[in-house]
């Protein structure tokens, strides 16, 4: 039985991880087909003052907001925004962080030291605060949020890849390839990288969850997406002044965030259990 098939069987037995996987699948489908699934797709920009702040009903599943827009539809489009922000941010962090980690881990010279020190400095400020600072400097907008998130998240990848590469570097088979005259670039890409891929994948999934939360916080604070964008954090911020009467306004976006992050976390945990149960339950 091939390794992949074995992994899949093990994975599907893990109910939590499988549920996480389903949730992520739903998220992706929702994001892709929001335009089709939403009962009121025009509500990303259209205003209906007559329908302001209506509670959940058959006409509007999750109620309407302060501009009379259908919350359910806006949530679906919000999923698209959330997914885009997180995928690009995590992807960028990966593209920056992994190569740096490989270099720092493989070589043992001043360059390694420098890279790790820089990573340490970025990690010395709590991520949200640094993200806020960056976003304020650059100006509030979605692209800047993505930038801020990427800049603050890459050190996590670097750290993990660095640790694993260091361990591998001393493994016998690496010495063997070096002895055969394989250049460092080839060694790193062909031999080291496949072996550190498991922790990278696990961290990416957990990173998605974390990034989604942080992006929502930035939206809530008004530092990222701006109204009328149907971003989930922004929606919750809008809702505050209409509480407690319009309880649905705040409740459902938050539930959406919860569900999605939960999905990524469960999936990531499940991946970790299959790919390498050896990895300590890391923070975040």
């Amino acid at each position: 039985m091939s390794g992949l098939r074995l992994a899949w069987i093990k994975f599907s037995r893990d109910r939590l991880a499988f549920t996480g996987f389903l949730i992520i699948l739903c998220l992706i489908l929702t994001a892709l087909f929001a335009g089709v699934l939403a009962p009121y797709p025009e509500d990303t920009f259209k205003i209906r003052p007559a329908e302001r702040l209506k509670p959940p009903s058959l006409k509007h599943f999750l109620g309407t907001d302060s501009m009379g827009r259908d919350i359910f539809s806006r949530l679906l489009f919000g999923a698209r925004i959330t997914l885009i922000i997180s995928i690009i941010a995590v992807g960028a962090s990966l593209l920056i962080g992994v190569p740096l980690g490989l270099i720092a881990g493989y070589f043992e010279n001043w360059l390694s030291e420098l890279i790790m020190r820089i990573a340490d400095v970025f990690l010395s400020i709590p991520q949200i605060i640094l993200a806020i600072f960056l976003a304020q400097t650059l100006g509030p907008s979605i692209p800047n949020v993505i930038l801020a998130l990427s800049i603050t998240y890459w050190p996590w990848f670097t750290r993990i890849v660095f640790a694993e590469t260091r361990v591998l570097k001393n493994a016998v088979f690496i010495e063997a390839t070096e002895a055969l005259g394989t250049g460092p670039l080839q060694t790193i890409v062909l031999h080291v990288l496949p072996n550190v891929s498991s922790p990278i994948i696990v961290r990416s999934s957990i990173g998605m969850g974390y990034t989604i939360l942080t992006a929502a916080v930035l939206g809530f604070l008004g530092v990222g997406a701006q109204p009328p964008t149907p971003e989930w954090g922004v929606t919750i911020a809008e809702s505050r002044q209409y509480l407690p009467e319009a309880w649905w306004y705040a409740t459902f976006p938050g539930l959406a965030i919860f569900l999605v992050v939960l999905g990524f976390n469960m999936f990531g945990d499940g991946l970790r259990d299959i790919l390498d149960p050896r990895i300590r339950r890391g923070f975040e």
Binding site: F122, F220, L221, L243
Partner: protein, 337 residues
């Protein structure tokens, strides 16, 4: 204390300074080098072009970069973080002013996470795979997935608005207790002010619980895996085989070893709490650094945000240093690395 431990502690302190330095440079870089016009940023959205020019000259943004850096450090050493647009006062004054509120909130949250998280983590480990364990693990997983600002709003909604059990915001509902430390709970105890104590406790309840939730989940998770780890260890087998009373093994030995793994996390937890403070204070109208940061964002008060960022960074590094030193004192093996 052995010499090696001492050397390790000294080395850590020595490492502290360059990290802070690098942090300061990073902030400099972000605030002066990245923006197209640092002066406009600092001046705020309402400023006129003349005001921006005046500010540019005043802060030295028209000078070459290396001179700016020197000025920057000069100002920092003097404790000058510029002026806040919002309050009109020096930023450093504002920070000092708002600090006790955030400190109190952070301390209470941390206490909640630890005092609830550690025992529950131990119980979960000892009753591994029981119903209780699964429930607690469910709690852990939720704790890491819930947006804390949303949780705060939901709690506010249910306990504050619907049930009317807790106040909706602010730090205290009666006149403040006499100033001793700036921490209302402590001050009201010290000055025997029952009214103030009650009010302060009622006001801090929801924000502290909300802030504590993700940290509590993390602590519980780590304590659980720490205890499980330790239970597999050879020395536990040896102690059982040599007849050490099970009570002794669990409480004296297991606890200490598991606590070490938790103390390790406290440094990172502090970071979680700091970050969470911004949103929680915003939701609960808690007059601390977090709310200050939020107001500064709304008003585009750049100097203020810069000040908060610097403070957060320095505090975080300092706390991690202290945690590291404490850890080495408890577990001298760390000094050997």
């Amino acid at each position: 204390m052995s010499r090696k431990v001492l050397f390790y502690i000294v080395r850590r302190f020595l490492y502290f300074a360059p990290t802070i330095l690098a942090l300061l440079i990073l902030v400099f870089f972000i605030s002066r080098v990245i923006p197209a016009d640092p002066a406009a940023l600092v001046a705020g959205e309402m400023a006129t072009p003349q005001q921006i020019e005046t500010l540019r000259h005043y802060y030295g943004f028209d000078k070459p970069l290396h001179i700016q850096m020197v000025l920057y450090f000069q100002q920092l050493i003097q404790g000058d973080l510029g002026k806040s647009l919002y309050s009109g006062r020096k930023v450093i004054t504002d920070l000092f002013d708002r600090f006790p509120a955030t400190l109190e909130l952070t301390i209470v949250s941390m206490m909640i996470s630890i005092l609830v998280g550690i025992p529950l983590g131990i119980v979960a480990a000892l009753k591994r795979n029981s119903v209780l364990d699964h429930m607690l693990r469910g709690l852990t997983v939720s704790g890491l997935a819930i947006a804390s600002f949303w949780l705060g709003i939901m709690l506010q909604l249910s306990f504050g608005m619907w049930l009317g059990l807790t106040p909706l915001g602010a730090r205290i509902g009666v006149p403040e207790p006499k100033f001793v430390t700036g921490l209302f709970i402590l001050d009201s105890i010290l000055t025997l002010n029952g009214n103030a104590l009650l009010s302060a406790l009622k006001h801090i309840a929801l924000p502290a619980i909300t802030l504590a939730f993700p940290s509590f989940a993390t602590i519980m998770r780590f304590t659980r895996s720490g205890v499980l780890d330790v239970m597999q260890k050879d020395f536990i087998l040896y102690e059982r085989a040599m007849g050490l009373p099970p009570g002794l093994i669990v409480y004296k030995y297991l606890l200490r070893n598991a606590v070490i793994s938790t103390v390790t996390q406290i440094g990172l937890l502090f970071g979680l709490l700091l970050a969470g403070a911004v949103v929680i204070e915003t939701v609960f109208d808690w007059p601390g650094l977090g709310l200050y940061a939020y107001n500064s964002i709304v008003l585009s008060d750049y100097q203020a945000i810069l000040g908060v960022t610097l403070l957060a960074g320095i505090a975080y590094v300092a706390v991690n240093l202290i945690v590291d030193v404490v850890l080495t004192l408890i577990d001298p093996r760390k000094a050997e690395e």
